[in-house]
């Protein structure tokens, strides 16, 4: 079933979900993102790669306006979700973030039970009318995050008591439960061991059937494994963007080639 989805998405689901035009980001005096133009497709995993400090996380945080919480950050240009400018004055960042979920580098479960962690989003957005519906959302999200079998008997225990890999999958379940359209992941595996990383990567591949997933990663192997599209950032510029296979086998730019062959970064 999962193979059918993949084939389908490769052929028919090529709608543009997010498009960025001439995006500039400044942190105080620092010009962190320069002239970024990119079109992110629906039902696709897009990887942002590049050396540390190249701006890939900064750009990711622009997509759900998380940079709004940093007082010195300033954004210019246009980012559109389904054709609508997300920096328009009428757009409420709170509503936007419900549509564009985010998973962070370090697992950050809330100090609540596993159940309450997953139910958090549905509760604040009023996605369920009664307890039975909420139970269903929680179970579906935990199954979606491949965590259900491990935690179904201890849903009332604190989420902070899980292992690192389980915590990160809990955070993914929490993001999925909010029913977003886009899922942003900021180095979701950097705090995880290889086994947990494998589980999360498998999960990302499954999420692709329903969401547009954007993942920032330091690991080129990971980008090659999970993504269909790859964008290479360097010193605040989007250097190259294209099919993942092309980026890794026949990069057009000399900087991309230098990075993937390990000479810069």
């Amino acid at each position: 079933m999962y193979d059918i989805n993949r084939a389908e998405s490769a052929v028919t689901q090529q709608d543009i979900k997010i498009s960025a035009k001439d995006v500039q980001v400044y942190y105080g005096d620092k010009h962190a993102i320069k002239d970024v133009n990119v079109e992110i497709l629906d039902k696709t995993v897009t990887a942002f790669i590049g050396p540390s400090g190249c701006g890939k996380s900064t750009f990711l945080r622009c997509i759900n306006r998380m940079n709004d919480t940093i007082p010195i950050a300033r954004i210019e240009g246009k980012i559109a979700l389904d054709g609508e400018d997300i920096y328009d004055r009428r757009v409420d960042p709170v509503q936007l973030r419900a549509k564009v979920g985010m998973v962070f580098q370090k697992p950050n479960p809330f100090p609540k039970s596993i159940y309450d962690n997953v139910a958090y989003g549905p509760r604040i957005h009023g996605l369920s009318r009664n307890k039975a519906e909420l139970d269903e959302i929680v179970e579906k999200s935990l199954r979606g995050a491949a965590l259900w079998n491990e935690v179904k008997d201890r849903l009332n225990e604190p989420g902070t008591g899980l292992s690192g890999g389980q915590q990160q999958r809990l955070c993914i379940a929490r993001a999925v439960a909010t029913a977003p359209e886009v899922l942003l992941m900021d180095e979701p595996c950097s705090a995880l061991d290889p086994i947990a990383t494998g589980q999360v990567e498998e999960l990302i591949d499954q999420l692709r059937s329903e969401y547009s997933v954007v993942i920032v990663t330091h690991s080129m192997q990971q980008a090659a494994r999970v993504s269909q599209k790859t964008a290479f950032f360097h010193l605040g510029n989007l250097v190259e963007y294209g099919e993942t296979d092309d980026i890794f086998t026949k990069p057009q730019d000399s900087r991309t080639e230098a990075y993937i062959s390990g000479r810069i970064g």
Partner: protein, 401 residues
């Protein structure tokens, strides 16, 4: 020889010992300093400490003996000589020990450890001493006054000619009533101020507002008392008590409670602010990233994570409210009364301790000794509160870490 001179002489000897020890260490080292086990400064310090420690021990033992009345005060000169002799002996012994193989560093470390342990035991022993003296005097009190009458008596009318009613209940009631009002004022205002300052305020506002609130903490409580006496008390009487027909008293429970609450605001807000700031930013990012509003984030994620600390802060504030005296004297008056009307004068345990111990004291009369029983009761209440606070903080910290 007076003790102060002996102490000064020992100090000088210690300085000399340091210099001698260091130069001797250099001398024994010869051309290569690495021949020594410890650096020369450690040799010097070991001689100095070996000079000073015996002298100080002699003086401490002597003063303990004098307190126990086995040593007459006239023997001070002798004690000084003894101390000096001990210092000289220590100096001589320290100097002779210096050599390439002597582990001066370890000796110094051990003496430093000893000093640290000594200081912490002083803190603990003092507490024990305070409690013991309270218990001792309370025992005297209960020999003269029935404990049932003290703990369950509803009347407080001390008469110095005897035949007093010394029931703690009116005082306990006043204490709790005023403290509860103070906490009702301080906790919400302090918490909301802390939330504003840690979550919403810009750096500039925070830089001005936080010190401004903390200035409140530096005001002596007697000044708050004056504020209660000349401003809050009359205001409450003229605008609330009299129009509502609830009383004519300038001093009232509400006055003292309000002003005490104001006193506690910086206490609650500054502790809560630190605790809220300690909640990791990743929690807030997580909640905001799921589309919560700032206030949902605070209510559902930040505050639950900060809760154990906040509860601890509130209970600490409660301990302070229960122990507060000056604001009550000037704000609530000195009438021991059991009543519900917040516009009436009432009084607290601490105020009555002061009034029972000022003036001519007869330490055989229950009217004076009752102060110690009151003090012990207060001590037990605040101790209980602190234990509960610590228990809550520990329990939840384990769960969330």
């Amino acid at each position: 020889m007076p003790l102060s001179w002996a102490l000064l002489a020992s100090l000088l000897l210690a300085v000399a010992g340091y210099l001698i020890g260091r130069s001797r260490a250099y001398a024994t080292a010869g051309s290569d300093i690495r021949n020594l086990h410890s650096r020369p400064t450690y040799h010097g310090a070991s001689v100095a400490l070996l000079t000073l420690t015996p002298a100080i021990i002699v003086m401490i033992v002597a003063s303990l003996l004098r307190m126990a009345k086995t040593l007459s005060p006239e023997a001070a000169g002798l004690v000084g000589l003894f101390a000096l002799a001990a210092a000289i002996a220590g100096l001589g012994w320290g100097i002779t020990r210096i050599g390439a193989g002597y582990q001066a560093r370890n000796v110094v470390e051990r003496i430093v450890l000893g000093v640290l342990i000594f200081c912490s035991s002083i803190a603990i022993l003092t507490t024990a001493g305070i409690v013991l003296s309270l218990i001792f005097e309370t025992g005297h009190f209960f020999q003269k006054y029935n404990w049932l009458g003290f703990f369950f008596g509803t009347e407080w009318t001390p008469r110095f000619q005897g035949n007093s009613a010394l029931g703690i209940l009116p005082l306990l009631w006043g204490t709790l009533y005023i403290s509860v009002i103070a906490l009702l004022v301080a906790v919400p205002i302090g918490m909301f101020a802390a939330i504003y300052m840690s979550e919403y305020a810009s750096k500039r506002v925070r830089g001005i507002a936080k010190p401004a609130i903390e200035i409140l903490a530096g005001i002596p409580t007697i000044v708050y008392g004056l504020f209660a006496l000349i401003t809050v008390g009359p205001m409450l009487r003229d605008y609330f008590a009299q129009p509502l027909g609830l009383g004519n008293s300038g001093s009232s429970v509400l006055t003292a409670g309000l002003v005490m609450g104001i006193m506690l605001i910086p206490f609650v807000s500054s502790l809560s602010d630190d605790i809220i700031n300690a909640v990791p930013q990743s929690m807030r990012d997580g909640a905001l990233g799921l589309g919560s509003t700032p206030s949902e984030t605070i209510r559902q994620v930040v505050l639950p994570a900060a809760l154990p600390g906040v509860v601890g802060a509130v209970l600490l504030a409660a301990s302070r409210a229960i122990g507060e005296t000056m604001i009550v004297v000037l704000g609530a008056g000195a009438a021991a009364r059991l009543g519900l009307n917040p516009f009436e004068a009432m009084t607290t345990i601490t105020v009555k301790i002061v009034s029972q111990l000022t003036g001519d004291n007869d330490f055989a009369a229950p009217e004076t000794l009752v102060a110690f029983a009151l003090g012990l009761t207060l001590f037990v209440i605040t101790l209980g509160l602190n234990i509960v606070a610590l228990y809550i903080v520990r329990k939840y910290r384990e769960q969330y870490e």
